[in-house]
Amino acid sequence: MRHAALVLLAATALAGCAASRPPQPAPAPVADTAPTIDRDPYPSTYHAPAADRVALVGATVLTAAGDEIANGTVLMEGGKIAAVGASLAVPDGYRAVDARGKWVTPGVIDAHSHLGAWAQPESVDAHNDVNEMTDPNTAQVWVEHSVWPQDPGFDAAREAGVTAMMILPGSGNLFGGRSVTLKNVPSVTMQGMKFPGAPYGLKIACGENPKRVYGAKGRSPATRMGNVAGYRKAWIDAQDYARRWDKWETAGRTGEAPKRDLQLETLAGVLKGEILVQNHCYRADEMANMIDISREFGFKIRTFHHANEAYKIAPLLAKEDICVATWASWWGYKMEVYDAIEENAALVHAAGGCAIIHSDDPILIQRLNQEAAAALSAAWRAGIRISKADAIRWFTANPAKALGIADRVGTLEPGKNADVVLWSHDPFSIYARAEKVWIDGGIVLDRTDARYRRHSDFLLGQSGETK
C-alpha cells in the first residue's frame, strides 16, 4: 500500500538539530552562514510565585519517597523543601500552619492531560485544538501552540491539588506531535506555565485510533500492520536525517547544510535521547511490538499511556524500565480496552515497575487521588500488599519520572521544589479536598480565600457561581 504522507516526507529535504540557542541575537547575513537551530524557541517565562517560609505542622505526611509520617512537619523555604520529619521544631521565621488531622503530600502530577489544547467549553469546536488529524505523521506539531492558558480546567485541576502536568496531542495519528510539561499556575501565556528545563515528549499512538481515522479516509494506516509500517518508515527517515546532520557537523559545518524539517527534527530528537517517547498503547502484544521497534531503531520508550493490558506483561515493562500511565476504572469503550482491570497499576507496581494513575480527562484530573484509591482498593481486594506510602507515588513521584522532572518535583524531600498539597482528609478518602496548594513554595490555592479561585478570564462576569 502506498504511504502517501511519508513518501511526501522523504521527498522533502532535510535539516538538523545540533547547535543550541544562538549566543547572541545579532542579525547575520542569511547566506554563507552555518545554521544554528534554537532548540528552545518558545522558552519558559515562568516565575515562581512569591514564597515565604512555611511550616506545615502536625499532619500525616506521605512523602512519596516511601514514608508515611505521623505528626509530621514539612518546612518550605526559598521555594524548596527544607525539611520533612516527625515532630520537627519550627525554626524562627517560619509561618506555622496547623495541619493536625490533615494530610500533606507532594503536588499531584498528571502524566496525561489535554487541558488548554481542548479547553472548556469543550463542546465548542473552536476550542478543540488537540488532534491534527490531517496526516498520520504530524511529529512536526507542538501541542504547546494549541494551549489556551485561560482554560477553566486549569483552575479546577489546581483546586484539586494538581501542580504540574504533561499536555499531549491527541491519539488520532501514529505520531501526534510534541507534548509540553506545564506548571499549573495562572498565566496569560503558555510560556508563563512552561516547566523550566522539562524535556519534550513525542506522542505516539498504537492500535485502533490511527487505523480507524486513516482507514476511514481510505489511506494508510488502515490496519495494525499499517501502523507499524508507518512507524518504521518514519524512523528510517529520521535516522537518515540525523545522519546527514551529524555528517555536516562532523565535517566542520562547511558546505551546504541540510534543510531543517520540523517533523524529522522531533523524531531525530528522540533518537538522540533528548525527547521522551510517550506512547498511547493499550494491548500487551502491541506494547511488545513497540518495544521491538524501539530496539530496531535505537530509542527508548519512556511511558506507555493507558496501557490497560500492562498487567499481562508487567515483568517485561519493569525490566525495560518503561512507566505505565493508566486508570483504575476505565474500560470497555473499545475492543483494545476490553481486558482492562482495576488492578493494572497494582500489578505493575508489584512487579517492580513504575505505575502511574493518569487522567486524560478534565474531570478525572480533579480526582487522581480517588482513582488511585480505587486502584489501591482493588489491590487490597486481591491480597496485594501496597501501602498508602507507596501508592501515593502513582500520582506524584512516578509521573514526575515519566515526564523527566523527578530531580525537581514529585516527592517531599529536602532540596526538591516545594510543590505541596494540604488535604482535608487522607487523600485516599473520597472526602478529601485540597485545602491549600503550593507551587515552588508559593501558595496558589487557599480554600479560605476567594482570590485563589477561578482565575480564567472566560469565567469573569458570567452568571455562573463560584463553587
Binding site: 474500560w331 470497555g332 469503550y333 480526582r367 480517588q370 484509591a373 489501591l376 491480597g383 455562573g464 463553587k467
Partner: protein, 421 residues
C-alpha cells in the same frame, strides 16, 4: 490471602435458589426507611426474603451467619441514566442497542426489548454494589441530530437472569436545551414549539385512533408507534425525562410541564442549584452528576460541585448518576455520591440518592431501594463506608438472589497475577 479465600468461600456458598436462612450480624444498617440507621443490627434472610432486621433480632439456629462487624448494609444501588444490558463494547455498534436512528422509531424506541442478561458488565457493576439500573436510551447522533425523543427507559436488575426487566417503559427521554434546539432546527424556541405541537398531535391521535387507522383525520408527522408511545406522556402517566442544564432552560421546561400537565424529571440540571427553589416548588426530581463541575458548554457555565447539596437543601429529590449512559464506568456511582458528600450533601442523603430516591422516581419503590422486612433481599454488605473507594462489598443480594462477587476482570486478574508472597 484471607480476602481471596473469603471471596472464594462466598462464591462456593452462593445459592441461586436461595432456599436457606442467612443472617448478616453486627453491621450498621442503612435502611433508607423511617427506621433510619441501626448502629449494630442483624438482618435475617429466609429463602431470599428479609424476615427480620434491627438491633435486637435473634439469629435463627439454622442460619448461615455472615459476620458484618465493622461493616455497613445498604440497599442495592441503582444506577440511573445507564445503558447497562444494552451495550457490551461502546465502539462495537453491533454489541450496542442503546440508540436508534430510524426515523420511524423515536419515542417508540423501547429499550426494555432486546436487553442482554449475559452482559459481562452486569457482574462488574455488582462489584460496586449496583443491583439495578435505569437503562435509558441515548440519541444516535451519527447521522446528525434528527430524532426528537431518544425513547423509553426501563428499570432492570443485574441478577443475570432472563427476566431482567423490573419495570419496562418507566420514562420517556427528551433532550431540550442546546441539543433539543439543534434537533428542532437550531433554536431553543423551535424545540419548545415543536414539543407543544407534538403533544397536541398525540392528544388528537389518542382521541381519534379509529379515524387515524382508517387513514382519515389530520395528517400526523410522527409514526404510529411514536404517537402511541407518547400518549401516556401527554396524559401525565409516564414521566418525561428532560435533559437540560441552563437555568433558563430549566425554568422554561418547568413552566411548559405545568401548562401541559406533564410529569417531568430533570436530567443533568448542572445549573439547577441556581433555580433550586423553582424546581422544589414544582416538585420535580432531578437526576444529576455531582462531578460535572466544568463549563463544558454555554449551558453549563454555572456548573458546580455543590449542585447536589444545594438542590437537596432546597428540598428537591435528587438522584445521583455519574455521567450519561453509564455502563462500563458504573462502578464509579458510589464515588460520585461520596464526592457530593465532600461538597456538602449529607451522607444519608447521598445514599438515598442512589437507592430509595431513584426507586421512587422510577416507580419501583414497592420492590427495591430500602431494607424492609417482607421484601426480597436487595442489599449489599460493605466492609466500611460504602462511598469510600477503599471499601468493598462482602456480600450482595439482587432481589432475593445472592450473587458471587466475581466478574470477568477478576478472572483476568487471577490468570495473570503472580502467586502472592
Amino acid at each position: 490471602m484471607t480476602r481471596r479465600f473469603a471471596a472464594l468461600a462466598a462464591l462456593l456458598l452462593a445459592t441461586p435458589a436461595s432456599a436457606e436462612t442467612i443472617a448478616i450480624v453486627d453491621a450498621r444498617l442503612m435502611t433508607m426507611t423511617g427506621a433510619g440507621e441501626v448502629e449494630r443490627g442483624t438482618i435475617v434472610i429466609r429463602d431470599g426474603r428479609i424476615v427480620a432486621l434491627g438491633a435486637d433480632v435473634a439469629v435463627p439456629s439454622d442460619a448461615r451467619v455472615i459476620d458484618g462487624r465493622g461493616g455497613v448494609v445498604t440497599p442495592g444501588f441503582i444506577q440511573a441514566d445507564s445503558t447497562l444490558g444494552a451495550v457490551e463494547v461502546s465502539q462495537v455498534p453491533a454489541s450496542a442497542d442503546r440508540a436508534t436512528h430510524s426515523a420511524a422509531i423515536s419515542a417508540g424506541f423501547d429499550i426494555s426489548l432486546g436487553l442482554n442478561p449475559d452482559s459481562i458488565l452486569l457482574p462488574v457493576s455488582r462489584l460496586a454494589g449496583i443491583t439495578h439500573a435505569v437503562t435509558t436510551p441515548l440519541y444516535d447522533d451519527r447521522r446528525g441530530r434528527a430524532l426528537q425523543f431518544a425513547g423509553q427507559a426501563a428499570v432492570i436488575d443485574l441478577a443475570q437472569r432472563p427476566q431482567m426487566v423490573t419495570r419496562p417503559r418507566a420514562a420517556m427521554v427528551l433532550e431540550m436545551g442546546e441539543g433539543g434546539a439543534e434537533r428542532a432546527g437550531g433554536a431553543r424556541s423551535s424545540a419548545i414549539v415543536q414539543l407543544r405541537a407534538t403533544l397536541a398531535d398525540v392528544r388528537h391521535f389518542a382521541a381519534h385512533r379509529a379515524a387515524y387507522d382508517r387513514g382519515e383525520g389530520r395528517p400526523q408527522p410522527l409514526s404510529r408507534v411514536d404517537l402511541e408511545a407518547l400518549v401516556p406522556v401527554a396524559q401525565g402517566r409516564m414521566p418525561l425525562i428532560v435533559r437540560v442544564d441552563r437555568a433558563s432552560d430549566i425554568r422554561e421546561v418547568i413552566a411548559l410541564a405545568r401548562e401541559e400537565k406533564l410529569r417531568i424529571i430533570l436530567d443533568g440540571a448542572e445549573e439547577g442549584g441556581r433555580v433550586a427553589d423553582a424546581i422544589s416548588a414544582a416538585k420535580v426530581p432531578v437526576i444529576l452528576d455531582p462531578l460535572a463541575d466544568l463549563p463544558r458548554s454555554f449551558s453549563e457555565l454555572g456548573a458546580t460541585m455543590e449542585n447536589a447539596a444545594r438542590l437537596h437543601a432546597a428540598g428537591v429529590t435528587i438522584v445521583i448518576k455519574t455521567g450519561s449512559g453509564v455502563a462500563h464506568r458504573a462502578r464509579e456511582l458510589r464515588y460520585g455520591a461520596g464526592n457530593a458528600v465532600a461538597w456538602g450533601l449529607p451522607h444519608d442523603a447521598a445514599v438515598a440518592a442512589i437507592t430509595i430516591n431513584p426507586a421512587r422516581v422510577f416507580g419501583v419503590a414497592d420492590r427495591i431501594g430500602t431494607l424492609e422486612a417482607g421484601r426480597a433481599a436487595d442489599l449489599v454488605l460493605w466492609n466500611g463506608d460504602p462511598l469510600e473507594p477503599l471499601s468493598q462489598p462482602q456480600a450482595l443480594f439482587v432481589e432475593g438472589s445472592e450473587k458471587p462477587l466475581t466478574a470477568r476482570p477478576l478472572e483476568l486478574r487471577d490468570r495473570y497475577m503472580p502467586p502472592l508472597p
